[in-house]
């Protein structure tokens, strides 16, 4: 019977009996288990709190890496190391022209800058007509990507000539 700290009316006592009689009580084993689990709670929550620090710590580390990485990247650029193309240095060649070049053979990809890349003529069709001042014809179209003849791409063209001779 529940031991009430305050007096109960007879009606309440009757109801109390019904509640007492239909109450579920824990077994000894359940009690022991609950006590054992209660003992683990402070340690468990402390570990969770400790782990919770790892999340902002990892985030801070990621941000620091990103900042450090970009600073290193910027410094590399100043020193003239290869850099990824940026919006200002992306060649304005047509996508089809880009796709037609084998990157393995593209020696310009190792150039320090893209300064030598010619600007497209006002009329792009002039390239196809061979009127572009970069050599003209289809070779001229390729020159859009490789720069004018004699600018250091000779190795590529020599290789091309050899291949053509072998093929011929």
């Amino acid at each position: 019977m529940t031991n009430h700290p305050t007096p109960q009316s007879p009606e309440e006592r009757e109801l109390q009996e019904v509640f007492d009689e239909t109450a579920e009580l824990p077994s000894e084993a359940q009690l022991e288990r609950m006590i054992a689990r209660a003992e683990q709670i402070p340690g468990g929550q402390r570990n969770r709190r400790r782990s919770a620090w790892l999340i902002p710590l990892a985030a801070a580390a990621a941000v620091a890496l990103a900042i450090g990485g970009s600073a290193w990247w910027a410094q590399d650029r100043e020193n003239g190391a290869p850099v990824a193309s940026t919006a200002t240095s992306v060649p304005t060649a047509t996508p089809t022209a880009v796709a037609s070049v084998d990157p393995k053979q593209d020696s310009s990809a190792t150039d320090d800058t893209y300064d030598d890349i010619p600007v497209l003529p006002a009329d792009p069709l002039a390239v196809l007509d061979g009127d572009f001042d970069n050599g003209g014809g289809w070779m001229g179209e390729l020159d859009l990507l490789h720069g004018p003849a004699g600018d250091g791409d000779d190795g590529f063209w020599e290789e091309m000539e050899l291949l053509m001779e072998e093929g011929g």
């Binding site: 529940t2 009757e14 109801l15 007492d20 239909t22 006590i35 209660a38 929550q45």
Partner: protein, 217 residues
């Protein structure tokens, strides 16, 4: 729950024994806050049977009671800094337990609805079983479920938790006067719904007594 106003529940004029009890409780609370698991267990241990009983009633399912108590203790530990030693730890724990049990029971009901939708229909209980102890418990749970939420909590804290009106007020964040009214109305409703259990219609004592089971593990 408003636990900020310290209130001694054991007596209006604290005796040396009460002071000692408060001091002991304060030490346990401080040690538990510092991460001492045994101190926390010692703090909650005397209340565990009551918490289990409350949880079982609030869930309407004894199999959930242990988990509900565990979750309530977890929550209690998180909020231990809000507890003022010398106030009612029983009320503090009981209110957490009733709420966690309610949440757990709601989740369980949703899960059962999903499962029942895909499961094959099961055979209904036989009339004999319905007349038994389980039916009596079910009727009490159903009668409670029909009460408005605050009244239901007040009734459970009163009849299962054995809390005083002042402690219930503390647990529910209400005033003692409101709680007296809530408990009165809840008891009146319950008596109305369970009227056949009183007086001549009430099941015989041996039959009813057998329903106060101690759950097997």
């Amino acid at each position: 729950m408003n636990m900020t106003a310290p209130r001694t529940v054991a007596a209006s004029t604290p005796s040396p024994a009460v002071d000692l009890a408060v001091q002991r409780e304060r030490k346990l609370v401080e040690a538990a806050r510092a991460g001492d698991g045994k101190a926390f267990a010692a703090l909650v241990r005397p209340h565990l049977p009551l918490l289990y009983r409350l949880a079982a009633r609030a869930c309407g399912d004894a199999s959930l009671a242990e988990d509900a108590v565990q979750e309530a203790l977890d929550l209690t530990y998180q909020r231990l800094d809000r507890y003022e030693p010398g106030t009612s730890m029983r009320a503090f724990l009981a209110s957490m337990t009733v709420r966690r049990a309610k949440t757990l029971a709601r989740a369980e009901r949703r899960r059962k609805v999903r499962e029942d939708a895909s499961a094959t229909p099961q055979q209904a209980d036989t009339p004999a079983e319905l007349m038994g102890a389980a039916d009596l418990k079910r009727r009490v749970v159903e009668a409670l479920a029909e009460l408005p939420e605050k009244r239901r909590e007040a009734a459970m804290l009163r009849l299962d938790g054995g809390l005083s009106h002042a402690e219930i007020a503390e647990a529910l964040g209400s005033t003692e006067r409101s709680v007296r009214v809530m408990v009165h109305l809840a008891l009146k409703d319950l008596r109305g719904k369970l009227s056949d259990m009183f007086g001549g219609d009430r099941p015989s004592q041996p039959e009813v007594a057998s329903t106060a089971t101690r759950s097997a593990t």
